[in-house]
């Protein structure tokens, strides 16, 4: 049986290979190929990798079984890269479809549909309908909190606004310090990960601006940038060390200042 093939385009080689592993497990006869990472193998996407993978799938020696290709891409510039590849080579367009779909769910849905011998349009629809598989609402009802809905991306929160529902630290053994953010982008992904890792290593409750300091997402949601004053607190054994360590990270600008 001839099958539609899949191309997974991700900024991360490991993310693409992980999703491909899942898809292949469920659809062993479907060609699932990755084009991930930038030209140097770092995080990013590469037009050449995408073009080479598409060409190999469609016209390569092993291409006999592939009737078309559905592409899944993970983040903004991965989508742009795929669109560019299709624009650059007019011959690819009719046989390739870029899905607007969640990366993992879309890959699995497309692969299982392709495995059944479905045509390009049907496989594309399966990928694009995959968001519904997550369900119209979360299975676990969110706990009501008093915090207001965020109006924009996490980074637009006003300074000092607390997010999350971490219990405030109270008691005589609470250590508190206030430090100023030095690096322009503040607690974006990499620094937030550094803080969270350091906070977790002490095994005691640590807060930054009232949120759990071990949560990368909550730290990022603070939206702090250069000039923001962050209150760091910790309670219990080695609370002094924990606060000093985090304060040092922030004041050091995470090597970016």
């Amino acid at each position: 049986m001839r099958h539609v093939g899949l191309l997974l385009v991700s900024h991360s080689v490991r993310l693409a290979e992980g999703a491909a592993e899942l898809a292949r497990e469920m659809a062993p006869e479907v060609a699932v190929v990755c084009a991930a990472g930038d030209v140097d193998g770092g995080l990013g996407t590469s037009l050449d990798r995408v073009t080479d993978a598409l060409t190999a799938l469609l016209d390569g020696e092993d291409a006999a079984g592939v009737t078309g290709v559905v592409v899944l891409a993970d983040l903004g510039s991965a989508v742009l890269t795929v669109e560019s590849a299709l624009e650059l080579d007019d011959e690819l367009g009719p046989r390739v479809r870029l899905a607007s779909a969640p990366f993992v769910e879309g890959a699995v849905a497309a692969a299982t549909t392709a495995q059944q011998g479905a045509d390009l349009r049907t496989v594309l629809d399966a990928a694009q309908g995959a968001a519904d598989s997550i369900g119209p609402r979360p299975v676990v009802e969110p706990v009501e909190t008093e915090r207001e809905e965020s109006e924009g991306p996490a980074g637009t929160r006003v300074e000092g606004e607390t997010v999350g529902a971490a219990e405030p630290l109270r008691g005589d053994d609470v250590v508190v310090a206030r430090v100023e953010v030095r690096n322009p982008l503040g607690l974006h992904a990499r620094p937030a990960a550094l803080v969270a890792k350091a906070a977790a290593s002490f095994g005691i409750p640590v807060r930054v601006q009232g949120v759990d300091a071990t949560s990368v997402l909550q730290l990022m949601a603070l939206g702090s940038t250069a000039g923001t004053i962050l209150e760091i607190s910790a309670r219990g054994e080695r609370a002094n060390d924990a606060v000093a360590t985090l304060a040092g990270l922030v004041e050091g600008g995470f090597g970016e200042a």
Partner: protein, 224 residues
């Protein structure tokens, strides 16, 4: 001044020189509101373009579009992030509309319109969102007005370059709603958009390549 394939090559070489000179400036702008790699990316991209241009044994380029197509494919391959696909598409669409040995005043407008259309269709950005579009849109408008007024092709380019420069500076107070800078929301105001700045540099190089061909030379410093 005929805007032929030699002009197009001069344009590309001048862009490479200009981007190399502005690498730190672009990176600094991007560091304020983005992820700080725009200068590095653009410099690497245009270095690769020059290497392609100088590659021995390449098929002879006779049309303006041949040069622009080479720029497009190289930038798409070599420039990471969104800038590669966006500039790549701009040059690709411009290349498709300039498959001729030289471009006249109307041809300059068509080329710029195609570039703008490429960026907007790929990036889904509109004017006022603090992006490349804010430099390219006024450039197209100014070029159109100049061409309608009967300006020479080089003067049409000059009008476009001046408008792109002003348009780029006008991004300073804007709040970004597209791209990486939009994560900063209101805090993106007060900084010039690095993509708008690089667009202005590219169009300035196009103008200089047309107005001042004699000053062209490998690594030669041209006054800004």
């Amino acid at each position: 001044m005929v805007l032929d394939v030699e002009w197009a090559e001069r344009w590309v070489r001048r862009t490479a020189e200009s981007v190399a000179r502005a690498k730190d400036e672009l990176t600094e702008l991007d560091r304020q509101i983005g992820d700080g790699d725009h200068g590095e990316n653009m410099d690497r991209g245009f270095r690769a373009v020059i290497a392609k241009l100088d590659e021995p044994g390449a098929p002879e380029r006779t049309e303006v579009g041949d040069v622009l197509k080479l720029v497009a494919t190289t930038l798409m391959s070599k420039v990471g992030g969104a800038a590669g696909p966006l500039y790549g598409t701009a040059f690709l669409r411009a290349a498709k509309r300039s498959a001729r040995t030289d471009v006249d005043r109307a041809g300059v407008v068509v080329l710029l319109e195609a570039a703008l259309e490429g960026v907007t269709s790929r990036g889904k950005a509109e004017p006022g969102e603090k992006t490349m579009v804010d430099a390219l849109t006024p450039a197209v408008e100014a070029a159109t007005a100049a061409a309608d007024g009967g300006a020479e092709p080089a003067e049409v380019l000059a009008a476009a370059a001046d408008a792109a420069d002003a348009g780029s500076r006008a991004t300073i107070p804007m709040v970004a709603t597209k791209g990486r800078a939009s994560y900063l929301g209101e805090r993106s105001a007060g900084h010039e958009d690095p993509g708008a700045r690089s667009t202005a540099l590219i169009l300035a190089a196009a103008r200089d390549a047309a107005l001042d061909p004699a000053a062209d030379g490998a690594g030669e410093e041209a006054p800004r």
